[in-house]
């Protein structure tokens, strides 16, 4: 019994300790951001590996998710004779929820895990120490550009996901199932609001980008510098990012749409 309590206490302390370290790291990263201004190339390089390399998976999944929405939405709506509203269903699901959330989950699997593994390996092979000994701050030189790149890439990826998904739904709904093309677009435009839906979706994905890259960068930086440590850290990144994104999504949705 006492052992159990002790164990619980130790674990609790461990959680707070990691949270504290993560927050300190975030402060360090943010306070080092200004050093990136004269060197945009560092960020561009990372936008490439975080954003561009995630593009294929985002476009492919976006298309399929949109097509599935088109199919499912049609089958449900047609019972009420409301298949004209297909565009609304597809667009609202994508712009409000699926775009930001699924993008963030895919991002965690594709870019987040890669970030953690890369930083963790740099730590395991003493590259981060070497940077420090060369009087180069690894937080500013290595972590900050990656953090910013993730923050920039996420909303762009989410927007591409939603846009491609709307087209996927269009392909299935209008192209295959015969929903009226004009109705698809006009109903969508009528019901989807720029501020309530599109802007809030962008804000969501900015928040997810922040959290996802923060977790990825922290786990990499905090990894035990062995191959096992790095692989554990990579797993943790994917798990924690997915949980954080879904939890945060609920909170943000409640704040935005829950009036």
């Amino acid at each position: 019994m006492l052992d159990l309590l002790q164990n619980l206490g130790r674990r609790g302390l461990g959680v707070f300790e990691r949270l504290g370290r993560a927050s300190l790291l975030l402060v360090q990263i943010l306070s080092g951001l200004h050093t990136l201004l004269p060197r945009p190339r560092l960020v561009i390089q990372q936008v490439f590996s975080v954003g561009v390399l995630s593009l294929v998976i985002i476009v492919v999944s976006g298309t399929f998710v949109g097509m599935v929405l088109g199919l499912q939405g049609y089958n449900t709506l047609v019972d009420f004779g409301a298949e004209e509203s297909l565009g609304v269903v597809v667009a609202l699901s994508l712009v409000r929820e699926l775009g930001p959330v699924v993008t963030a989950l895919l991002f965690a699997g594709r870019a987040g895990s890669a970030l953690t593994a890369e930083i963790g390996l740099m730590k395991a092979t003493e590259q981060l120490s070497a940077l420090e000994m060369m009087a180069v701050d690894p937080v500013r030189r290595v972590l900050a550009p990656r953090f910013i790149a993730g923050f920039i890439s996420m909303p762009l990826l989410a927007a591409i996901f939603s846009a491609v998904g709307v087209l996927g739904g269009y392909f299935v709904g209008v192209g295959l199932l015969g929903v009226d093309e004009g109705a698809y677009w006009s109903q969508m435009q009528d019901k989807v609001d720029l501020y309530d839906d599109v802007y809030n979706g962008v804000i969501k994905s900015l928040a997810f980008g922040w959290v996802a890259t923060w977790i990825a960068v922290f786990e990499g930086h905090d990894a035990v510098p062995t191959s096992e440590g790095v692989s554990r850290a990579t797993t943790r990144t994917v798990v924690y990012t997915s949980l954080a994104v879904l939890g945060l999504d609920f909170v943000l949705t409640a704040l935005m749409f829950g009036d």
Binding site: R41, I44, Q45, V47, F48, G51, V52, L55, F80, A91, V95, S153, P155, L156, L157, A159, I160, S162, A163, V164, V166, W185, M188, Q189, D190, V192, D193, L194, D196, D197, V198, G201, V202
Partner: protein, 185 residues
């Protein structure tokens, strides 16, 4: 290892694609192009019942959206719902004696405010017609209180039709004399 230039081109393509997608979401998927909400004037109407109506619900005339509901308040003196609507600036010649009703789009659709022109519109048209016949330039028909302006109030209103009330009324008529207890239920 890719050259810096290739990387930069790819990043450029990526950012352009992302912005294009955002642009598409703004212009094609949502209603940015439909109305510029900031630009317009506010009118108000009082309804006995505004249930189902929401902020941002559409305001239409002749089936065309001309504005949106911006606020719904309760007036504790008159015990009525005060609905404020922002009307696009282009439609500044709506007759002052227009009436407002709350309708439902389709059987299960959302509520919206429909405006119907009153007699003022005809007077206006007649005036314009007269002017044309006499060979004068038509005078702008917005003098006096004959058109809706910022702060105008619509006097003739018809509130939401609540399904339960309708049914209750129908049932009470149908069962006239058949025992008022059941009718109340």
């Amino acid at each position: 290892m890719m050259s810096t230039r290739t990387t930069e081109i790819w990043v450029g393509v990526f950012v352009a694609a992302g912005l294009a997608a955002l642009f598409m979401l703004a212009m094609k998927v949502s209603n940015l192009s439909a109305l510029n909400e900031e630009d317009g004037f506010t009118i108000e109407a009082r309804f006995e019942d505004a249930s189902g109506l929401k902020v941002r619900s559409p305001v239409t005339m002749a089936g065309v959206r001309i504005g949106r509901v911006v606020a719904i308040e309760f007036d504790k003196q008159s015990l009525q719902a005060v609905v404020r609507m922002r009307i696009d600036r282009r439609y500044d010649t709506l007759p002052a004696d227009s009436s407002a009703s709350i309708y439902t789009a389709g059987l299960l659709g959302e509520k919206y405010v429909g405006l119907e022109p009153g007699a003022g519109a005809d007077e206006c048209e007649e005036a314009a017609l007269e002017a044309e016949l006499e060979g004068r330039a038509p005078e702008p028909c917005e003098g006096g209180t004959r058109v809706l302006r910022d702060g105008s109030r619509i006097k003739i209103t018809q509130g939401s039709l609540v399904l339960e009330k309708l049914i209750a009324r129908f049932v009470s008529q149908f069962l006239e004399g058949g025992g008022k207890k059941e009718a109340a239920q």
